[in-house]
């Protein structure tokens, strides 16, 4: 890319932010939140990575995965997520690439969830329009903290410096991205705000992309959290079966049957595994 283009891009971005700051109304936590979020929260240890051109999406995922201890670069993620023709990364590919890398990925879509996740110690990837509705500048960043008293939201935003935004400015840029957020966690951790069904579906999605080890871990994590729901044991049985662990599959499916003896799917899969073990 021509150096001037880069300068121009930065300028556009800066101008957009100035404009947003100028006409933004103060953020009112009482109007935007239905939960009692603490005054401030911060997630420690999220690395700052300088993004390559257009790689804000892959960089965001790389930062969150490195925070969780993975050895991964933005180029690794880009190979699974980036669309060169579009000059960016689609929302669906943000989710899909995280799963292909063995992560639990679930969407969030409001301030309650964003602040509750950050308070719980989880960085959240957010989709922002740093420009205007008619002149969009789409961007992914990682929210790592906030402070109501100072009126600041902290983001790792593809630059080596932490980005600090006033709440109102952040709210506007995030609203233009339809409040799309993504929690990406290793499969032995659970999001703080998403429903059991969302996590179950995310686990089944790991099976579909053949990340069976990650699926097994997530089913075990979910089963510990929601021990009464047979679906976790059912999924665990199926994922272990896919890994060739027939005895493990049988144990899980038996637990599923004990939790609810009336489910035909459980009995069919248990019979299937038992017949393979016998034959």
């Amino acid at each position: 890319m021509h150096p001037l283009t880069l300068v121009f891009r930065r300028l556009v971005c800066l101008l957009a932010l100035c404009w947003l700051a100028a006409c933004a109304q103060p953020f009112d936590p009482d109007a935007q939140l239905t939960i009692a979020a603490p005054t401030r929260a911060a997630v420690k240890g999220v690395p700052l990575i300088q993004q390559e051109a257009f790689y804000c999406g892959p960089t965001s995922i790389a930062m969150v995965m490195q925070w969780a201890g993975a050895d991964i670069t933005q180029e690794d993620v880009a190979a699974l997520a980036f669309s060169p023709g579009a000059g960016g990364t689609y929302l669906a590919d943000m989710i899909g690439s995280s799963r292909r890398l063995g992560q639990l990925a679930v969407e969030i879509n409001d301030f309650d969830q964003l602040l509750a996740e950050v308070t719980a110690g989880h960085p959240v990837i957010v989709f922002q329009n740093l420009g205007l509705g008619v002149l969009p500048v789409w961007h992914y960043g990682v929210v790592t903290g906030y402070d109501f008293e100072k009126d600041e939201v902290y983001l790792n935003s593809g630059q080596l410096d932490q980005m600090v935004m006033a709440f109102a400015v952040f709210e506007r840029t995030w609203r233009r991205g339809d409040y799309w957020g993504l929690v990406v966690l290793p499969p032995d951790q659970l999001p703080a705000t998403t429903s059991e069904t969302d996590v179950l579906s995310a686990a089944a999605a790991l099976e579909q992309v053949e990340q069976y080890d990650a699926a097994v871990t997530l089913y075990e994590t979910g089963a510990a959290m929601w021990p009464d729901n047979w679906l976790w044991q059912f999924g665990l049985g199926n994922a272990r079966y896919a890994l060739g662990d027939l005895r493990g599959a049988r144990a899980a499916l038996r637990r599923a049957r004990a939790l609810d003896p009336s489910i035909p799917e459980v009995r069919a899969n248990l019979a299937f595994v038992e017949s393979e073990l016998a034959g």
């Binding site: 239905t34 099976e207 579909q208 679906l231 999924g235 199926n238 899969n269 299937f272 595994v273």
Partner: protein, 133 residues
């Protein structure tokens, strides 16, 4: 004797046919493991539906239904007519309503919305509506 042997033969045929069918059924069921994803969708939708039906049985909701001039049995039929996705949306709304009293409101929002969309000819949910063209 012949009647007896005929009936024995009949039983034998019936039994063997049943055996073949049963074996086939098992073979079909065992062609592959049943997927987790389908089970999640199926049973979550079922649980959602049951949860809403339970809400509908609450005394205060029943009173509201009667006050609206709807037979409680008809209200159940209307709930049953909603798709899985619509039921999931209703439940999400109800979960987001922090106060318990709002559950009544949310349950009836759907009736009012469908009443209006009926009148606009977008839906045909209620039998008594005549849409305005």
């Amino acid at each position: 004797m012949s009647i007896l042997s005929l009936s024995k033969k009949g039983i034998a045929i019936a039994l063997s046919a049943q055996l073949v069918l049963a074996t086939q059924a098992i073979t079909m069921a065992q062609a592959e493991m049943l997927g987790t994803d389908q089970a999640i969708n199926k049973y979550t939708a079922l649980a959602n539906r049951n949860a809403l039906m339970d809400e509908l049985q609450r005394a205060e909701i029943q009173a509201e239904i009667v006050a609206l001039g709807i037979d409680p049995a008809e209200a159940e039929a209307r709930l049953a007519a909603l798709s899985d996705a619509e039921i999931a949306t209703m439940l999400t709304q109800m979960e987001n309503d922090s106060a318990g009293a709002d559950v009544v409101g949310t349950l009836f929002t759907i009736f009012v919305i469908l009443l209006v969309t009926d009148l606009l000819c977008l839906t045909r949910f209620f039998n008594f509506t005549r849409c305005i063209r």
